[in-house]
C-alpha cells in the first residue's frame, strides 16, 4: 500500500491480528491487584415500596467486604442525561423488576453472589405499569411522586421540549411548521396507527467497570461510549472536579448505544470507596436485559394528501415506552418526532413525541435512535396511502421526495444525498419496474416492497477535539476520545492521518482512550466518528503537516510531495529529532433558526428493498431477497462501510421478523440469552445485497459522511410493504409474526370494499 493511498483503501483493520488471535484486552479482561468483585441485588417486583433492607447477615459472610443499599446517602445521588432521575441504588421505591437495591463487594464473584442471598428485603408491591396504556391511565400511580429535576435544551425554530409535562411522562418534544389549516384543503386525510417492538442490544461483552478510588482520585476502566460525558457525570455524582475523575476505555465488545453515560460505573465507584479496594462490577448477560433496551413505541400518523398523491400535511403522535427512568429518552424523543415526516415535501408538519415512563427496563439509545420507529410508521403509511390512491408506491415516493439541496425543514441544512438515486438502486436490484416479473411474483405468492430511511446524523451539541503528534524518532500518534466499538473508527481515523501526512498506515498509532491524555469528545454515537471526529483529526493532522513543511523549509529542504500542500515520502528523515504536535477541533455552530438549535451536519439516508414469499396458510414470511443501500459520501475504508451496512441491515431484519424484547403477565419474558431469540446465521435472507454509494457530499474528511445506522431504518417497512404487495395484507405491528400476518390476511379478506391499506 503506497503511503498516499490510505483513504479509500480497504486496509486491514489495525486490530485484526489481536482480534483473530484472541489477544485483545477488553474492559472485561482488566484487572487490578487486590480487586474485589461486585454483585447487585435487584428488585423482583416491577413496582414496590422498599420497606426495609437487612444486610447484616450478608455483611458477616466471610469474604464480604461491603454491602451498600439505597439507605446510604451516597447511593441516593441521581444521574441521567437531561433529567437526573436514576439513583445509584434505589432508595424508597423500586421502579422496575431489575432496579438495583443493594450492592455487594467481596473477594470473589461466588462470595458476592452468595451474599446477595443473605440480604433480606421487605417490599410492599405497588401496581405495575408494564405498558403505555396502563401508565397513562388517569388512576395510574405516579412512578415518581415528585418529578425529578431536569432541563430541556434550547431548541430553535418550531421546536419545544417539556420536562415531566404530565404524570408518568418524563419528557415531551414537539416540532411544528406550516399551518394546520391545510388539512382542510386535502382530498384525503388518512389516519393510521403503528406499533413498534423493542429489541435488546445484546452486545456480547457485558456492561463492566473496574473502579479504583485513591487519594481522592476516581479512576475507572469501563466498556463505555462516552468517556468524557461519563467523567462529567461522575464528577457531579461524587462531588469533585473533573480533573479528579479519570476514565479509561479499552476497545469495546459491542455497544449499539447501550453503553452510554452511567451503567455499571456508579456502583463500582461506591463500592471502591466503601472498601478502599479496586472493585470490578461485571454484569451478567442476563443483567443487560435489566439495564437497557430499545424504545418500543406507538405512532399515530394523520396524513393529508391530494388525489394525485401530493403530500400536504402530517401530524404524528409518538408514544415512546421509556421504561422506569428517563435515561436518554428525551434525546430519543427529539429524533423520533423530528424524523417522523421523512424526507418528503410537506406544507405542514406537527410532530410530537412523549416519553412514557413504565415500570420496565429503562429504554435508551439504540442504533437508529428514534429513526427506526419513525421510518417504520412513515414508510408503511406511505405504501398504504399509495394503494388507497391507486398509485405505485415507488411513484408516490418519487413525486414527493425532497431533492438534493433542499432543506429538510425550514431553517435546517439542505439534503446532501440524492434520495432518488438510492431508491432506484434498490428498486432496480429487485426488478421492481419489470411488469412481467411483478406478475410472476404475485402468482407465486411473493411481493416486493421499498422503503426510504432518513435521519439527521453527526449528533447535536457535540464538540470533538483531536491531537496528532510526531515524536523525535518519527512515531506518529493520534489522540482522541473516539471509542473503538467494533465499527473500525480507530482504523478509519488512522487512515485519515496516514493520508494527510503521507506515511504508511501501519506507522500511525492510536493512543489509548484516557480522559487525562486525550482531548475532549462528546461521545461515540450518532454515526459521528468519520464526519465529526474525522474533521478534528484532519485539522490536527493538517496543522502538523504545516509545521513539518515549515521546518523542512527552514532547514533548506523541499517539503513537497505530489501536491503543493503535501509532504514527500521520507520526510521524517528530514526532520528527525524535531517533535511536532497539532490540535484540531470541530463543532457545529448553534443556530436559532434551525429546529434543533443547530443545522444538521449531514443526512444519513438508507434505502431498502425486500422480496418476500408469504405462506397464506401459516402466515410465515420468508425473506427471499433483501437489498440495502446507503450513501457514505466517500468511503474512508470500503470494507468498514460494507461491514456496518451489513450489520445494520441484519439488525433491522431482526427487528422486522425475529426479535422482540417483551413482558408477559407483568414479568420480563425475554430475560436472558436463553429466552431472547436473537438473529442467527439461519435467519439470513436467501439473497442479501448491500450497496454503499459514494455521492461525495459528506462534510467529513475527503467528502466522508458517517455511516452505520441506515440499514436499521428501512428493513421493517420494506418487508411489511412486500408482504402487502404479495398478499394484500397489511401488518402495522412488529415483529411480523405469522399470527399477525394471518390476522391481517383475515382482515383483508373480510373487508374487500374498504381498502384498509
Amino acid at each position: 500500500m503506497t503511503a498516499t493511498s490510505s483513504v479509500g483503501a480497504p486496509l486491514q483493520r489495525a486490530d485484526a491480528y489481536a482480534k483473530v488471535a484472541g489477544s485483545l484486552r477488553y474492559a472485561v479482561d482488566f484487572e487490578l491487584p487486590g480487586m474485589a468483585q461486585a454483585a447487585v441485588l435487584r428488585s423482583p417486583h416491577p413496582h414496590a415500596r422498599i420497606v426495609r433492607i437487612d444486610a447484616e447477615s450478608a455483611r458477616r459472610l466471610p469474604g464480604v467486604l461491603a454491602v451498600l443499599t439505597g439507605a446510604d446517602p451516597a447511593a441516593r445521588s441521581r444521574y441521567g442525561w437531561y433529567i437526573k432521575d436514576q439513583p445509584i441504588l434505589a432508595d424508597r421505591v423500586a421502579r422496575y423488576a431489575g432496579d438495583m437495591v443493594a450492592a455487594v463487594a467481596a473477594v470473589d464473584s461466588a462470595t458476592a453472589m452468595a451474599a446477595l442471598e443473605l440480604i433480606d428485603v421487605v417490599y410492599e408491591p405497588l401496581p405495575p405499569l408494564i405498558d403505555l396504556d396502563s401508565a397513562l391511565r388517569p388512576d395510574a400511580p405516579a412512578i415518581f411522586e415528585e418529578p425529578p429535576r431536569g432541563k430541556a435544551p434550547d431548541y430553535g425554530r418550531g421546536a419545544s421540549g417539556w420536562v415531566h409535562p404530565e404524570k408518568n411522562v418524563c419528557y415531551r418534544f414537539r416540532y411544528t411548521t406550516g399551518d394546520s389549516a391545510v388539512f382542510g384543503a386535502c382530498d384525503h386525510v388518512f389516519e393510521d396507527t403503528f406499533t413498534f417492538s423493542a429489541m435488546q442490544h445484546y452486545h456480547l461483552e457485558p456492561f463492566v467497570t473496574v473502579a479504583s478510588v485513591a487519594d481522592g482520585l476516581i479512576e475507572v476502566w469501563s466498556s463505555n461510549q462516552n468517556p468524557f460525558a461519563l467523567r462529567r457525570e461522575l464528577a457531579r455524582l461524587f462531588d469533585r472536579d473533573e480533573e479528579r475523575v479519570r476514565v479509561h476505555v479499552p476497545p469495546v465488545g459491542g455497544a449499539f448505544g447501550a453503553k452510554n453515560l452511567c451503567k455499571a460505573e456508579p456502583v463500582a465507584i461506591l463500592l471502591a470507596m466503601a472498601t478502599g479496594r479496586p472493585v470490578r462490577f461485571c454484569m451478567t448477560a442476563a443483567e443487560s436485559f435489566l439495564t437497557q433496551r430499545q424504545h418500543s413505541a406507538r405512532l399515530r400518523l394523520r396524513t393529508g394528501v391530494m388525489a394525485d398523491g401530493t403530500l400536504i400535511a402530517r401530524r404524528c403522535e409518538v408514544l415512546l415506552d421509556a421504561g422506569a427512568y428517563a435515561d436518554a429518552s428525551p434525546l430519543v424523543s427529539e429524533k423520533a418526532a423530528y424524523r417522523a415526516p421523512g424526507p418528503y415535501r410537506w406544507q405542514h408538519v406537527d410532530t410530537v413525541a412523549s416519553c412514557v415512563l413504565t415500570t420496565t427496563t429503562p429504554a435508551g439509545p439504540f442504533r437508529g435512535f428514534g429513526a427506526p420507529q419513525a421510518s417504520w410508521a412513515s414508510e408503511s403509511q406511505l405504501d398504504m396511502i399509495a394503494r388507497r390512491l391507486d398509485i405505485d408506491p415507488y411513484q408516490l415516493r418519487v413525486k414527493n421526495l425532497r431533492e438534493l439541496g433542499e432543506p429538510y425543514m425550514p431553517g435546517d441544512s439542505a439534503l446532501d444525498s440524492d434520495l432518488r438515486s438510492g431508491l432506484d438502486t434498490v428498486a432496480d436490484a429487485l426488478g421492481y419496474h419489470d411488469p412481467r416479473r411483478r406478475a410472476e411474483l404475485r402468482r407465486a405468492g411473493r411481493g416486493l416492497g421499498l422503503a426510504v430511511g432518513f435521519k439527521d446524523s453527526g449528533g447535536g451539541r457535540k464538540p470533538a477535539s483531536a491531537r496528532v503528534s510526531v515524536s523525535g524518532d518519527g512515531q506518529v500518534t493520534l489522540r482522541c476520545g473516539t471509542v473503538e466499538l467494533g465499527q473500525g473508527a480507530h482504523t478509519a481515523l488512522r487512515q485519515v492521518v496516514a493520508q494527510i501526512l503521507a506515511v504508511p498506515f501501519g506507522d500511525v498509532r492510536f493512543a489509548p482512550v484516557d480522559t487525562t491524555s486525550v482531548p475532549y469528545d462528546q461521545g461515540t454515537y450518532a454515526s459521528s466518528s468519520s464526519a465529526v471526529m474525522g474533521r478534528a483529526v484532519a485539522e490536527a493532522t493538517e496543522n502538523v503537516r504545516g509545521q513539518v513543511r515549515e521546518v523542512i523549509t527552514q532547514r533548506g529542504g523541499n517539503p513537497s510531495g505530489a501536491e503543493d500542500e503535501g509532504l514527500r515520502p521520507g520526510w521524517r528523515r528530514l526532520v528527525s529529532g524535531h517533535e511536532f504536535e497539532g490540535s484540531g477541533h470541530f463543532e457545529v455552530a448553534s443556530d436559532v433558526n434551525a429546529p434543533l438549535g443547530e443545522k444538521c451536519l449531514f443526512w444519513e439516508p438508507g434505502w431498502g428493498g425486500a422480496e418476500v414469499e408469504v405462506d397464506r396458510e401459516t402466515g410465515r414470511v420468508r425473506l427471499r431477497h433483501l437489498v440495502v443501500c446507503g450513501d457514505a459520501g466517500r468511503m474512508i475504508n470500503p470494507q468498514l462501510c460494507h461491514g456496518q451496512e451489513q450489520g445494520s441491515a441484519v439488525m433491522g431484519m431482526a427487528q422486522a421478523i425475529v426479535e422482540r424484547f417483551g413482558y408477559s403477565d407483568g414479568a420480563l419474558a425475554t430475560r436472558d440469552p436463553l429466552t431472547y431469540r436473537v438473529a442467527t446465521f439461519g435467519d439470513l435472507p436467501d439473497e442479501f445485497r448491500c450497496i454503499v454509494q459514494e455521492q461525495g457530499h459528506g462534510p467529513g474528511p475527503f467528502g466522508a459522511k458517517g455511516y452505520g445506522e441506515g440499514g436499521m431504518l428501512v428493513v421493517a417497512a420494506a418487508v411489511a410493504n412486500a408482504v402487502h404487495d404479495a398478499v394484500g395484507a397489511r401488518v402495522t405491528d412488529l415483529p411480523l409474526t405469522p399470527e399477525r400476518v394471518l390476522d391481517a390476511l383475515a382482515k383483508a379478506e373480510s373487508e374487500p370494499a374498504e381498502d384498509s391499506g
Binding site: 461483552e205 448477560a285 465499527q487 451489513q646 450489520g647 439461519g682 442479501f688
Partner: protein, 163 residues
C-alpha cells in the same frame, strides 16, 4: 460451598496439564485463570457460542462444561491453533474477509469453523451456516463470516489439506 476437589489431566493446546480442581469449577474460568485470555464468557448459559473451545475436536461451550468433564481429553483454544506469529488459515481468512468487528465472538467463531473444516473440508454455504448457527454475532450480520469460512476451506484445499 462444596469443597470437593478432583484430579484432572488435560491436553491443553498440546501440552499436558495435571491439576486438582474444585469439582464445580467451570472450564471457562479455569482456562482464564491459567492465562488463556482468548476464552471469554458472554451469555454464561451455553447458548451464544462466544466461549467455544474444542474438546477432542468438537466445539463445546466452556461456560457450560466442568473442568472434570475434560479430564483425559484434548482441549484446544486459539492459543493452540497456529505456531508462533503465523495465523491459521481460518484466522487469516477472517482477517482478509473482515469477518469480525468488535471481535468478541471471534475466538468462538474461529474454533467452530476450524472444527467444521477438520471434519468436512469442502462444506457448502448452507452447511457452514448450519454448523455455525450456535455462534451469535451482533456486529457483522454473519455473511462475511460465511465467506471467510468458505475462503479458508478453498485455501486449505489448495494447499493440500494442511490444517
Amino acid at each position: 460451598m462444596n469443597d470437593a476437589r478432583v484430579p484432572v489431566s488435560i491436553d491443553l493446546n498440546g501440552a499436558t496439564v495435571t491439576d486438582t480442581v474444585p469439582a464445580h469449577q467451570v472450564l471457562a474460568d479455569y482456562l482464564r485463570s491459567r492465562g488463556i485470555a482468548s476464552v471469554r464468557v458472554s451469555c454464561d448459559q451455553g447458548v451464544c457460542g462466544a466461549c467455544t473451545v474444542l474438546v477432542d475436536g468438537v466445539p463445546a461451550a466452556s461456560c457450560a462444561t466442568f473442568v472434570f468433564q475434560v479430564d483425559d481429553r484434548a482441549v484446544r483454544t486459539l492459543e493452540g491453533l497456529a505456531g508462533g506469529d503465523d495465523l491459521h488459515p481460518v484466522q487469516q481468512a477472517f482477517v482478509d474477509r473482515f469477518a469480525f468487528q468488535c471481535g468478541y465472538c471471534t475466538p468462538g467463531m474461529v474454533l467452530t469453523a476450524v472444527a467444521l473444516l477438520e471434519q468436512e473440508p469442502e462444506p457448502s454455504p448452507e452447511r457452514v451456516s448450519q454448523w455455525m448457527s450456535g455462534n451469535v454475532c451482533r456486529c457483522t450480520g454473519y455473511a462475511p463470516i460465511v465467506d471467510a469460512v468458505l475462503d479458508a476451506a478453498s485455501r486449505q484445499q489448495d494447499s493440500g489439506g494442511r490444517s
